[in-house]
């Protein structure tokens, strides 16, 4: 449960939801309990019995059979028959069972039979009344069938139901596991015969789809595809004035050609977009769009809906800022301006609904933390009420509690601090917070290795090895990872040394890319994506455990889906400049094996198999070759299906 039921916990459809509760009654009477659950909107609860784990903690599980909001609560009652049965057994053992003791249990059976109208119970009560023999009566009362029948028809005295109904959000698999590839469609054209780079179109993107799919990605994500404003248009490298012919930033949304529900004419028509959606689907790729709630000064809304904006005392409007960044080509709507409720709110919802209607189910949302939480909670809830397969990704890089709050109010996925976590200790600390802390119930981290805004300093001079390190971290630590095109070419030239802006950023200009650039890591990314598909343990950030590796430059961890599965072990050299060797511990104890035990090992990179004996193992990771290793380890199976250690 999350914040006492105020927000849903998040799960994937097909998951079992494990519910635990402390359940107490005064005295020595036994209690029984059930989890009540239903799809939100249904009247009827379904129920499943809970079992006692000890120390008054109970648990039960229910399945998520379909997408969308579910809810559960817990019910408990005094279990009179269990109490009577326990008492009977004690008195039998002590040899002081009296006739009245038996009579009382018989009355309980009769009353339950009468109340339920159950024939079997009535027959049982008849049989009990027909005999005076204490042994025969005890035997009948202690029979397992009797206990089952009495439990099934229990009148549930002192029934108490938890006053809170706890929500659970069941989302589709891709909400927790997918691999994203980001590109600027306008840079996807081939240079023409004169070496001039034309403005790319959706059809150029269609031509790139096979390559993207071959790398193993599931999602193609594009920055805004809408008409770009001309007022205060940015020039290359974020200069405040554009030269004639410069394309401007796609985040300056809106021009005379239209706003958030229009397509930039140079990219194509809405029909071209539909062809792209359909072509992507045929390659097994899904499109993700950018939902950026901001306007160029030329956006039609400024003319048609001036009451959605905050005008200054001098009649001007303030341009957007996200300190220290300035966006002179952008103005923001005001969610609480005089005309904004409901006008602006529903218009924004309708923008999303428009693209949902065009088949889009993934939205990366720009800077959501500068917009009201209540707006997101309402809008996301409204969209998902009819389309529970829609997924929203929060692009908020801000204070942790704001990021978590956005996840609570409805975002399925969230950008993270991953790009700024490079050292072993900080990676372990951050992963532990995400996978084992409170956020594990509602915050799904999306590990982007780079974005058009973040050219991580770590990559500037670490070359191919550095890119492999970061790719390995993202693909193995998180179920969700993303890459902005150019990463696979190890493109990391900064605008200025030590700064995170790309030189000649595609945000402000067209770029031409050589997709076969020497030293690229396309093959490695392809293999990493394949290993993710083949190993469910790599399809979530949950279930990670950091094990001992003596070398502080080597991050070493295991991931496991179920407690009986094999473990995927990963060792990554975080130092892109030097060979690192380390002793590390083979987690034999996770399989109940002693320190001298053995595990079967598959090297998932090379496809080789071997056996490792003993807890202490050693690995050498050469960044010039491959700065990481990935193994799958397990006890193997004997012919009769048992683990070999257990079979001995």
């Amino acid at each position: 449960s999350l914040d006492d039921g105020r927000f849903p916990v998040k799960r994937i459809v097909g998951d079992q939801v494990l519910v635990q509760a402390d359940i107490l009654a005064d005295g020595h009477d036994r209690v029984a309990a059930a989890v009540l659950w239903r799809v939100a909107g249904q009247r009827q609860w379904r129920q499943v019995a809970m079992r006692h784990l000890g120390n008054d903690r109970w648990c039960g599980e229910f399945p998520l059979e379909r997408l969308g909001r579910h809810e559960f609560t817990v019910e408990a009652w005094r279990d009179d028959f269990a109490t009577a049965r326990m008492d009977l057994e004690k008195r039998l053992a002590a040899g002081n069972l009296s006739r009245v003791d038996l009579d009382e249990v018989l009355h309980l059976v009769r009353a339950t039979a009468d109340a339920s109208g159950n024939d079997a119970l009535a027959t049982l009560a008849d049989a009990l009344e027909a005999t005076d023999d204490p042994q025969a009566r005890s035997a009948l009362l202690l029979a397992p069938d009797t206990a089952n029948a009495m439990a099934r028809h229990d009148r549930r005295p002192f029934l108490a139901r938890c006053t809170t109904v706890y929500p659970v959000e069941a989302e589709r698999l891709a909400a927790g596991f997918s691999s994203w590839y980001e590109l600027f469609p306008r840079s996807q054209a081939m240079p023409n015969a004169d070496g001039v780079q034309p403005h790319g179109t959706f059809h150029d993107v269609i031509a790139r789809l096979p390559a993207i799919r071959d790398m193993g990605f599931d999602v193609l994500y594009m920055p805004p595809i809408h008409p770009i404003g001309r007022s205060n248009r940015k020039g290359r490298n974020n200069s405040v004035t554009a030269e004639p012919g410069e394309p401007g930033s796609p985040y300056a949304i809106g021009a005379v050609e239209g706003g958030h529900d229009a397509v930039h004419p140079e990219l194509g028509t809405l029909d071209d977009f539909r062809q792209l959606v359909s072509a992507a689907a045929s390659h097994g790729l899904e499109l993700a769009l950018d939902f950026a709630i901001q306007c160029s000064p030329d956006h039609p809304w400024l003319r048609d809906h001036p009451d959605w904006f905050a005008w200054r005392a001098d009649g001007s409007i303030r341009y957007a800022e996200n300190p220290p960044k300035k966006y002179e080509d952008i103005v923001n709507v005001d969610f609480y301006a005089s005309g904004s409720i409901p006008g602006l709110w529903t218009a924004l919802r309708d923008v999303v609904a428009f693209w949902v209607n065009e088949g889009v189910r993934l939205f990366r949302v720009d800077n959501p933390h500068t917009k009201p939480f209540p707006f997101w909670e309402w809008m996301i809830g409204d969209i998902r009420a009819t389309h529970p397969d829609v997924v929203f990704l929060s692009e908020a890089f801000t204070r942790p509690k704001l990021m978590y709050r956005l996840a609570k109010v409805g975002y399925s996925q969230s950008y993270t601090y991953f790009t700024w976590r490079n050292r072993k200790a900080e990676l372990i600390e951050y992963m532990t917070e995400l996978a084992d802390g409170a956020p594990s119930e509602f915050f799904r981290p999306h590990f982007f290795v780079n974005t058009p805004d973040i050219n991580p300093v770590f990559l500037h001079d670490s070359g191919r090895a550095g890119h492999l390190v970061r790719a390995a971290l993202a693909t193995t630590l998180s179920g969700l990872w993303g890459m902005y095109s150019g990463f696979e070419l190890c493109e990391a030239t900064p605008l200025k040394a030590g700064k995170e802006d790309y030189l000649d950023s595609e945000k402000y200009q067209l770029r031409a890319w050589d997709w076969d650039r020497p030293g690229n890591i396309v093959a490695e990314i392809t293999r990493l994506n394949l290993l993710r598909r083949l190993n469910p343990a790599l399809q979530t950030h949950l279930g990670v455990r950091f094990y001992n590796a003596a070398n502080d430059n080597v991050l070493y961890f295991g991931k496991r889906r179920g407690s009986h599965d094999d473990i995927v072990l990963v060792a990554i050299n975080l130092d892109p400049f030097n060979v690192q060797e380390t002793d590390f511990e083979l987690p034999l104890w996770e399989f109940g094996l002693p320190d001298h035990g053995a595990l079967q090992v598959e090297d998932l990179w090379r496809g080789t198999r071997t056996t490792w004996q003993g807890k202490q193992q050693r690995v050498r990771l050469d960044p010039a070759e491959l700065p990481f290793a990935i193994w799958r380890v397990g006890p193997g199976r004997t012919e009769n299906g048992q683990a070999p250690e257990a079979a001995r």
Copy 2:
């Protein structure tokens, strides 16, 4: 807060209540917040501003000025002036302050002045409008007086109040700090000339009061003082039949002479009881009574209110059991029998109210875990609504969550597992759960070293040293401690080896005591109680920290009330049979001192003073002399009142 406001946290009147909250707003605007608080039942909230601690965590404090239930909640709003001021400072620093920037802040001041009708703000707005000079305007807007006035009259846009109101229970000091002495009044008579022990009376107890008070106790607690049933009366050492003339167990309440609101005739009359109350008060002692909800088969209620009991099919009634203990002389009421609601519930409440009316404010409640939680919540709330100085002590020895639940529903104090915690690791673990875990907000542990039911095995053969060890533990670890008479005489003879029953227990017979028995520890108990009175750090279990002592037989800890106070250090040899020596760490770091620093030390037992230099210290604890040491340590004060280290 406790269980999302379902139950109150517990505090002592005079405490400051520290409230923390995570407070978030979207975007970059500043927020402000206040704690709202009031005595329960008042309409008007009082408020106190909260301050930002960092990472979106805010805090504020309010005082508990009177006894009883209080409540608080949190309010927050967008702080437009703070945001504008921050913006102004940034623009001034960057040199890009424009006229419209200043105009907008001026409009905010004017609007606030108009809305509040505040003259000073109106004058300020006039002054701002009267000048065009940006510097003069900025200076006025940035003046601290302006910030204060704007904060005071803030219109609080986007005001949001936490939907939960959180209760706090303010109790009197004795709810958290007192020392209890338990005795059986019927054993307090002096043998007569023939050496025969007569039945003691309240007047015999009055004669004992000076000795009890001299030992430093605050509370005199007596087992039930009501008429004792004759049916199935227990004989000495819990035999199932009593010989003629045997007094029976005082827990078999009720006879022809009366029930829970009557006094046992052999103890005296109600008027004698009143004399005892008054005599105790004149000695600075308070009486605690035993509230034991059970009846002897002769209790008037069985005749007058048969519908308060669960009769069996054969017309009999089951005697009480608390497995494995059997109470053949007792039957229990049934809280849910046909006539019990409201009859029994109000009758029980009226029993308590009767004794409250006789001046009793402390009730030790027998076995509350076998009665309904809702009964306790209602009854305790009802009594405390008119008498918030009444304190209930829960005598529940059962599973931890039941014991905690009783504290949540209203018990001020609780018996604990202390009597069964003897080793260093288990003492540290238990104290950490009580003082630093969730229970610290609602569960006040009462450390009894023995009770009529618990003659701890640890004491059976450990003699004087063992009794000193346990007395030192109870008096220094907990604000509440208790002793059943005989402990000071080191009486620990068990009924059977290894069992916790006393031989010749006063529960079933009169005893004659030699209060000057050789080897008694009256002097040590007197001094321990005195040190508790003199050192506020010893008046609560909260604030305990366990420090390093190398020897596993030595428990070593510090207690401190406020972060600037001296620390009381305690070292206790848990081994009553052997001298134990140990190195231990002087907690210089708690005073910000380096490892080679020095502290002034007062040996609280011997009254000597010295200085300790350096973190490593050593102590020798001889159980034949004194198995513990108690010091008060601090940096001392120089002539100008500074700590000497800081003064250097």
